[in-house]
Symmetry: C2
Amino acid sequence: MIIDFPNMPATVVEHFKGGEKEYVVKTFLDEQNRIMHGTLHPGASIGMHMHERNSETYYILSGTGHIVMNDGTEEDFTVGQMHYCPMGKGHTLINKGETDLVFIAIVSEHHD
Amino acid sequence: MIIDFPNMPATVVEHFKGGEKEYVVKTFLDEQNRIMHGTLHPGASIGMHMHERNSETYYILSGTGHIVMNDGTEEDFTVGQMHYCPMGKGHTLINKGETDLVFIAIVSEHHD
């Protein structure tokens, strides 16, 4: 099946996971995966959250993302790179740049 | 962690899953996910394969992809769209276009 993000309506979530400002998101969801097209405007963030039984990948389409892991390590990534949060770890995603951060996010469940 | 595809070496796989020509791929692998940056030149394909206990998403970065599902249904998708093969189904990916098909593919395992 095709997930047609360009023609899918977006939802605006305030303070997603306790983050700053808005998370503008288009979502496909089933029992195994949550597949998202996300936008964080400058200064917006997704708050710290754990991935106890799933994992998450971010692939950046435009802008630069800043990650803080639950162990305190930090990293930046940009267009063409992915950030991977393995099962058992937690992370935030922050737009510290001056342009929108646009990305694909996939949360996959790793249990029967 | 960052998966730095732009600076990762590519592997060339001939007739991947029984497909045509070459699959040029950069791969990150752990127990939960196989995360790939793939290129199929014109006329190349990934052969039919089943996802019995996992699922796969393709996100196109350039070009157009043609999908045939194991039930015979077909669909095309292009830049900005995703194809999703749910757990329990099978699919092929064919580059019927005249330019390279470049995409991100994520295979996620859905069992303990």
